[in-house]
Subunit: 131 residues, 2 copies
Amino acid sequence: MEPELPKQWLGPRRLTMTVESYETRDGGRWRFVHRGAEGDEFRFHGVFHGDPSPAWTVRTFEYEGAPGHVSLETLSIEERDGRSYLRNVNVYLSAEDRDAMVESGMEQGVREGMERLEELLTRFNAESPAP
Amino acid sequence: MEPELPKQWLGPRRLTMTVESYETRDGGRWRFVHRGAEGDEFRFHGVFHGDPSPAWTVRTFEYEGAPGHVSLETLSIEERDGRSYLRNVNVYLSAEDRDAMVESGMEQGVREGMERLEELLTRFNAESPAP
């Protein structure tokens, strides 16, 4: 992964994002840090299971603010009718863990990230339009 | 982990078990192979998330006969009233994956493994009784 790209879209606008590691191989580790202007930090890490690819990635996910509450996540991108569909499935070790994630405000950050990704892709397409 | 010990108890009696890897560290991989007398093989693998210990281990789990159906597993051993309690939680990416595991016959193999572990510990205790 090109570590400069996620910074431009991943997560909420108010936080600056850093990819500390993203080792896309079986057992490879990933770690993201999102920092606010007031020095507030949100750190996430996990490991990859299997051979990660855009078509199918399996990884574990842990918010370091809630250690031990690990979840399993799959990411897959599918091309359909000229569009790319990203599917992201997360499963939790307990219903409490799942509910805590829903209530954490992560959803807003993910939505904002998706908006930013769309803006980034629109800029890319404007710079080098498809033939 | 001492790789000779799991062979003596892990899984059903009719299968011979081999620990191909068991790297107990963040991102470390594990792989078990269970072989029957007729050459039938059942392979399982995954990666460790975090710092595995007897008190708390998180790992991914995939049966190689059903690739892509990955689950997340925690193992913890707790001492209570002079006994050791093993807790094993598995969560699946879909209800179908969970049901397939329930129907796979794995439960019988796990039960048999627990019986064998008890027999092994009884032998150990007979050889070196607690003071």
